[in-house]
């Protein structure tokens, strides 16, 4: 068992090197496309900020554009931006009066906390529910769990979030309605950790509600497929008890699609959930990007997209490596 999980070291390094070389042009292409596509959207930050001010004069607008660097020809703006990017400088967000990288770095951990918690919860419960469903296929546990996952799949996230707030915050007053910490009092040490945990419960549950549904269905169908295979019949014929068969033979072999899904989702999840972060006033990446779109804060949006595409690529790479760990037949090349 332990031997099967080892990867040949030299090959892995070569593989990683090759992938990194492939990653650079991909990211470059993403940046270039983003830069020009985002400028197709009508309106700019100067107009938005003048709109927020309630009124403005043409001189004021010209001054803003000059300050934001929007008065220069597009080509110059592009080369300036690329020049900055090569120095790993993501530029400045004028709408937030803060460097883009700083903004991303303050938001990303909040999103990671929220998203990883709900992903772990969703994967654990989803696999459990899916396994139960597959094991008792067509009987009542399967029926109950299938109904549950269909509801979870079909219910809009924002509605789940709002309903949880109405029930647990407004009516029962058990849990906070939003935000990341209690702002009435300042908590320190362990109390501060507990405070954040308390604020995480509802958004994590809302997000997990959706993802549990996905993993339940995925695990169920993957396990049903594996159950039909010859080696499972052989194991059964050998007289192995049903539970060890389900866990050691069926589930382990059904894990690959789940890993694919988790890997795919990990990258996008870390870019945040606009809906949940908005409903629960969670200061994360999703809201940062969402607001940037409507404020035409191009520098910030480019930075967020750059960061997100980087995450997606890294998590895909990690997924490939995990494949090889789980299934010795798959080799990294």
């Amino acid at each position: 068992m332990a031997r099967a999980l080892q990867l040949p070291e030299g090959r892995v390094l070569r593989y990683l090197g090759l992938r990194v070389v492939q990653v650079v042009p991909t990211i470059l292409a993403i940046v270039v496309l983003n830069f020009f596509f985002l400028r197709l959207a009508p309106g700019d930050l100067a107009e938005v900020m003048a709109g927020e001010a309630g009124s403005a004069t043409p001189e004021y607008m010209a001054m803003l554009r000059q300050q934001f660097g929007l008065d220069e020809p597009l080509a110059i703006q592009f080369f300036k931006y690329m020049g900055q990017l090569f120095q790993l400088n993501l530029g400045y967000s004028f709408r937030n009066s803060m460097p883009v990288l700083d903004l991303i770095l303050t938001r990303a951990p909040n999103t990671a906390l929220l998203m990883l918690s709900s992903l772990v919860l969703a994967v654990a419960l989803g696999i459990l529910f899916g396994a139960i469903s597959a094991q008792w296929r067509g009987r009542w546990p399967d029926g109950v769990l299938s109904a549950f996952s269909t509801i979870g799949f079909a219910t809009p996230l924002f509605w789940v979030g709002l309903m949880l707030i109405v029930l647990f915050s407004v009516e029962l007053r058990w849990l906070p309605a939003g935000g990341m910490r209690d702002l009435q009092q300042v908590h320190t040490g362990l109390a501060a950790v507990g405070d954040v945990a308390l604020h995480m419960v509802l958004p994590v549950l809302s997000l997990a509600f959706f993802y549990i549904a996905i993993y339940t269905r995925l695990t169920r169908s993957a396990m049903l497929e594996v159950q039909e295979l010859d080696f499972v019949r052989t194991a059964r014929a050998k007289g192995i008890a049903p539970l060890p068969i389900a866990v050691r033979h069926v589930l382990r072999n059904a894990l690959l699609p789940i890993v694919t899904m988790t890997g795919l989702q990990l990258g996008t999840l870390l870019s945040g959930s606009v809906v949940i972060e908005t409903v629960f006033a969670w200061p994360g990446m999703g809201r940062l990007a969402f607001d940037a779109v409507f404020q035409r804060d191009i520098n910030l949006l480019l930075g967020v997209l750059f960061f997100s595409s980087f995450l997606v690529i890294v998590s895909n790479l990690a997924t490939d490596l995990v494949y090889a760990l789980l299934d010795p037949r798959i080799d990294v090349r």
Binding site: G51, G54, S55, A56, P176, T278, P283, R287
Partner: protein, 537 residues
């Protein structure tokens, strides 16, 4: 037989019993007589997050709501639209109206300990307000110099009388910034804009982007005894339903702007723990209107415009789309600004038959399909309510044979299409009228306010010599009585020439916990400092 005394005793007893459970009493009842309690944290809610915390530089509604706590202006408005002292203790205008002298407080220090002086006033007005404020260069166009004969006197010199500046000296519009920290820098990019140092009742503590802005009591504030609160925390909550939930759970106690959707106001009002306050927006004075694009036919024909005015039932619009939180506007100036409002303006009653007759007369006959005109309409992108109003216009105009296509956009696209490309037939929006029509109203009617690419300018394209002449008289007339007569004349012309239909005086509102007392109800109350607020019981 019941003596008057018995009734009195009884009622007093009832009153005392009630006071025991003071939580149940509305704030207004307790405010009378009770001494303000000190201490405590107030959690307020903002949406959206401001771009900077110095409203004198990046002015926007949420920026002002925070910034007014950190900075002061020269003066403030009281509830009757009269000016009262703030950083200035008194002021006088020269006989010819070109010199305004302010006497300043001598006991004010900036949050970093430096004394506040007239040099700060001169710097702020000339270098900040006149140069980088979105409308400061228009309002203070005639300000040529600020003399500082001594540290506590500022003498403002104008090239010609400028009565409009009196509508801009209040701290929610023109803030006084610290010269010693801003001089020699580009004010717009000064890092202090994110961690401001002011003279105000609260001191800036921290700003965690996307989450909270924390202010703390200024122990050296010049207005002795104030503020009452120890801390004010502003939270950013973008979702309206979540804002309502934060208020209902008590996690937040005060939402100054755009607190909950119109549809939730009745529910919030019904709660005994919460208050919905509509006073405190007479300064910004939101006025809602329906613009015609006069560059396009058939809107050059006054009969067509009149027909539209007769076809829109403003009362129904106020009661349905705006849930009664609006009232029909009689003209471009709100009726509660009594010093300017003209009472005898021409009106266009809701009358479908008259509207149809006018369109017939204009040569727009109904086709076989009952349609006489196909046009588009762009509603303001500043909120869902205005999109719903667009649906109302569509239905109302269908009744007179006008087929309307609605074009809804996100905010930046809307600004581009309406104010840069002028690509619309009709358009509806609200503009602030502000405390002086020269700031908020003339921009809708003056030909010089047709400023391509500038939001909230003259979008209809009206360029009328008669209207222009009145507007230019208003700008330079030093005599208040004569000027007010011109302002009334402007309102009359606006109604007669009808480049746009004045629809509603919108009612904005704040929502807050009934435990709060001392909420500022002055015309800019919704944006005013929280220095008067305390948490009772």
């Amino acid at each position: 037989m019941t003596s008057p005394f018995e009734t009195l005793t009884l009622s007093r007893r009832t009153l005392l019993a009630g006071a025991g459970a003071s939580l149940l009493l509305p704030a207004a009842a307790r405010r009378a007589g009770a001494a303000p309690a000190t201490g405590g944290t107030l959690v307020a809610v903002l949406d959206p997050e401001p771009a900077g915390l110095v409203a004198g530089l990046t002015i926007s509604a949420p920026a002002v709501a925070v910034s007014a706590n950190i900075f002061d202006g020269l003066v403030e408005y009281d509830e009757g639209f009269k000016l009262k002292p703030s950083l200035a203790t008194s002021w006088e205008t020269s006989a010819d109206g070109t010199v305004i002298t302010f006497r300043l407080r001598n006991d004010v220090t900036w949050h970093d300990g430096t004394p506040f002086t007239s040099a700060d006033v001169a710097y702020s007005l000339l270098e900040v307000t006149k140069k980088v404020h979105p409308r400061g260069n228009a309002v203070f166009a005639n300000l040529t110099a600020v003399d500082t004969p001594d540290p506590y006197t500022a003498v403002l010199r104008f090239s010609r009388p400028s009565p409009v500046v009196w509508a801009a000296f209040n701290g929610t519009e023109t803030q006084i910034l610290p010269k010693h920290l801003y001089e020699g820098t580009n004010p717009l990019t000064n890092p202090l804009n994110g961690k401001p140092i002011g003279t105000g009742a609260f001191v800036f503590k921290e700003w965690v982007k996307g989450e909270r802005i924390v202010l703390e009591r200024n122990p050296n504030y010049w207005d002795k005894g104030r503020p009452y609160l120890d801390r004010v925390v502003f939270r950013i909550i973008r979702d309206p339903a979540s804002r309502a939930a934060a208020l209902e759970t008590g996690e937040a106690q005060y939402i100054p702007l755009n607190p909950v959707p119109l549809s939730d106001v009745a529910r919030i009002k019904a709660s005994k723990d919460l208050v919905v306050e509509t006073r405190g927006f007479e300064g910004p004075a939101p006025m809602y209107f329906f613009d015609f694009n006069l560059r396009r036919e058939p809107f050059g024909d006054i009969r067509v415009r009149q027909a539209f005015a007769h076809a829109l039932n403003r009362k129904a619009l106020a009661e349905t789309v705006f849930y009664g939180l609006a009232k029909p506007a009689a003209g471009p100036v709100p009726s509660y600004q009594t010093q300017f409002f003209a009472t005898d303006l021409p009106q266009y009653d809701y009358n479908i038959a008259k509207a149809e007759a006018l369109l017939d007369a204009a040569g727009l006959k109904k086709g076989a399909d009952g349609v006489r005109l196909r046009i588009d309409h762009i509603p303001s992108a500043y909120g869902e309510d205005y999109r719903r109003a667009g649906e109302y216009f569509k239905q109302a105009l269908k009744r007179i044979g006008v087929e309307v296509t609605l074009r809804n956009y996100d905010l930046p696209t809307y600004i581009k299409v309406v104010f840069t490309e002028y690509d619309f037939d009709t358009h509806s929006a609200w503009y602030s009228a502000y405390p002086d029509p020269q700031i908020g109203v003339q921009r809708r009617y003056w030909s010089q306010a047709i400023k391509k690419g500038t939001p909230s300018s003259n979008a209809s394209g009206i360029a009328d010599p008669e209207i222009d002449a009145v507007i230019e008289r208003i700008q330079t007339e030093g005599n208040v009585e004569k000027r007010n007569a011109d302002i009334r004349e402007l309102q009359r012309l606006a109604q007669v020439k009808l480049p746009s239909v004045n629809l509603l005086e919108l009612t904005f509102y704040r929502a807050y916990s009934a435990k709060l007392s001392g909420i500022d109800l002055a015309p800019f109350g919704g944006y005013q400092s929280l220095k008067t607020v305390w948490v009772g019981a």
